[in-house]
């Protein structure tokens, strides 16, 4: 647990390693310490850049703490940050993610990775990582196909789980919102949109399937092109159908424009929701009030940033990076803790620190993290399946871009 006292030490450590990162990786290191590289792959530019950077900071913090406290004696963890967003896509780009996966695999010093943020990238990276036996832990990508044994030939040809998650999947996140619509908001009909990405299509599918089971009428389904600017046409159509509610599966690329344009067209009171793709800083910066007001969104993890036990971490994160953590910054920190813990287990057991052993150790690990104990099933999915529901509600007591206080926590979603 972090305390105020060791927080001060950490800040100093963080400052020191930031300078170290600036000077190039591994320029100054105690003699005799072996280097383990941890790949971090996120869309650090593009439509989701802010959220991606918060996730990066969470991972970096875990790595720094491990180095400062000498959690893995004889070894030094070195983060290797890669960007999978490209200018042509304007957001994450699966082709770039595949290239980055090959880079990680090609460097024998890389023994584990954190990321990617996006499922579209995950689908491109998983087969490459699988062939090389390199484990990655995603703090936020929720598309269930990647770890579904039905698609193992596509995403996990080697047969051993390499795609671990510190969040649950859309097999639970999409249905959770459908449960919330049916049981809490009692909507009768819904129109479903997605952003044509792997995550967006997947979560919209699982949402629709559960909505139908719960007796909600799905009035239609359409697809948005994230490069397109105008969604007024589709929104006018939805308005004309008199749908009770709207569900959008997708990330901020199309989401920011959708939420903005929906404001002028759809009734203010009509429930509108998305998944964790909408619970992003861009919802408050690119969209802002009043357009964002009232939108529901979910995350595929317990809500942590307002948990009293997590406050020391939140304070440390803020003082280190001068920005707020969101829940996925915490699941990313948790991913870092899992890797550190797994490598530590290996060393305690006296086993050689290799990629294959690190993978096995992550698979077997039970790690105390900020979200509680993290353990994985045989496919790499986290055992805890909590989905939390939020609503954008203007809170005048905090800055309008405050990602913790402008997203009001409603509670964990009904599970059935």
């Amino acid at each position: 647990m972090l305390t105020r006292r060791n927080a001060g030490k950490l800040i100093a450590g963080a400052a020191a390693s930031t300078t170290l990162l600036g000077a190039g990786f591994g320029s100054a290191r105690a003699a005799g310490e072996k280097e383990i590289k941890i790949g971090i792959n996120l869309p650090l530019t593009g439509a989701d850049a802010e959220g991606a950077n918060r996730i990066k900071y969470g991972a970096l913090l875990a790595i720094q703490q491990a180095n400062d406290s000498n959690a893995i004696p004889g070894y030094k963890l070195v983060p290797w940050v890669l960007n999978d967003a490209t200018s042509t896509a304007g957001q994450y780009d699966p082709a770039q993610a595949a290239t980055n996966a090959r880079k990680l695999v090609a460097d024998p010093a890389v023994l584990a990775a954190i990321g990617p943020e996006m499922s579209g990238s995950g689908k491109a990276m998983a087969p490459i990582l699988s062939e090389a036996g390199l484990a990655t832990i995603t703090p936020s990508s929720t598309n269930p196909d990647i770890t579904n044994p039905k698609f193992a030939s596509e995403f996990d040809p080697s047969g051993k789980a390499i795609y671990f998650r510190t969040v649950t999947t859309d097999a639970f996140q999409g249905p959770a919102m459908a449960n919330f619509y049916a049981d809490v908001l009692k909507v009768g009909s819904v129109y479903v949109l997605d952003d044509s990405g792997a995550y967006g299509v997947g979560i919209a599918d699982t949402f629709s399937a559960r909505a139908k089971e719960k007796g909600i009428k799905v009035l239609g389904r359409d697809r948005l092109d994230p490069l397109q600017a105008d969604y007024t046409v589709g929104l006018t159509k939805i308005k004309a159908l008199n749908a009770d509610s709207l569900y959008y599966g997708g990330v901020m690329g199309a989401g920011a424009k959708l939420v903005k344009q929906a404001y002028g067209i759809l009734p203010q009171k009509m429930p509108k929701a998305g998944g964790d793709g909408l619970l992003a800083p861009e919802m408050l910066t690119s969209v802002g009030f009043p357009a964002a007001e009232g939108w529901y969104c979910t995350i595929a993890s317990p809500h942590l940033t307002e948990d009293p036990q997590v406050q020391p971490f939140v304070k440390l994160y803020e003082s280190t990076w001068h920005t707020q953590p969101d829940d996925y910054a915490i699941t990313s920190y948790d991913a870092g803790l899992v890797i550190v813990n797994a490598i530590g287990d290996l060393i305690k057991a006296g086993k050689p620190v290799t990629r294959a052993n690190v993978r096995d150790a992550i698979q077997a690990s039970h790690t105390k993290t900020l979200q509680g104990e993290v353990a994985f099933d045989q496919y790499g999915d986290v055992v805890n399946r909590t989905v939390s529901v939020f609503q954008v509600v203007k809170n005048p007591n905090y800055p309008l871009t405050d990602i913790i206080h402008q997203f009001k926590y409603i509670g964990s979603a009904p599970t059935s």
Partner: protein, 313 residues
Amino acid sequence: MSETTLVTQQVINGLSLGGMYALLALGFTLVYGIIELINFAHFNVFMIGSFIGMWVLQAFGLSGQSVLLTGLPLIGALLAALVVSMFGSGVLGVAIEKYTLRPLRGATGSAGGTIGMITTIGVSYILFNVILLGFGADTKNFPNPLPTIRFHVEGANLDLRVILIWVVSIVLMVGLWLFVQKSRLGKAMRAVAQDAEAARMMGVDVDRAIIMAFFWGSALAGAAGLIFGLYYNFTSFLIGYTAGLRAFTAAVLGGIGNIPGAMLGGLIIGLIESLGGQFIAVKWTDVIIFAILVFVLVLKPTGLLGTMAPSKS
């Protein structure tokens, strides 16, 4: 919402899109008409025009959706944004012509053809990346100084800003048409379009005519960029791509090189987008637009209003 209301609403949506596409299409057509060059840098001149508009409005203290102006300050801010983004984009267009295309023209006699076109693709990527690297990739919250005033036509909403798009588009398009038809410089431009060599021999300043085509084409793109920002309340480095491609399609559909053709093409593409989205599905928009383009070009290769260009030897 009744069927009539719905169709009226989608026609309003389509005409707003169409107005923007038409303004953009004019830039393609103006340049093509004179030097037979498809100027792909135009996509991102439009994008930069929208950023310039945003900066001007921000300089008036406007940001996000918070500050609403009324009366004279509102008109002043909008006019300033319009003039500065048109002028800035126009100058950018002229600079592109002067520094990247004119040297080519000197060598080959014409900047048209593949070399010029590929150059403009390169320039387009440079502009795109300058904005991306300089100002970041996030969607920018475009200031919205306009009060939300709505009129109702057949039960459909007609926003003040939609009327603004139409008025500005029509004024600029008619102005351009009059300029090209009536003014001395416009006549010089048309002469160069018909036969540059003969025009030069008759004492027409060919370089000046070409610069004018780039200036006004790009200035209209700047106006379209500002209108885009005001209408959608956002801008980003990405907006040039889809809008530019649609506008280019509009220019070809109407008959590239033909000014009324570009306007007509823009409106048609806008309406196809909205009515196709309503009655088929939004995800098929591109398929529908390009299918209609192919269909029209097969039946009439010069586009709707285009005539066979005289072959230039």
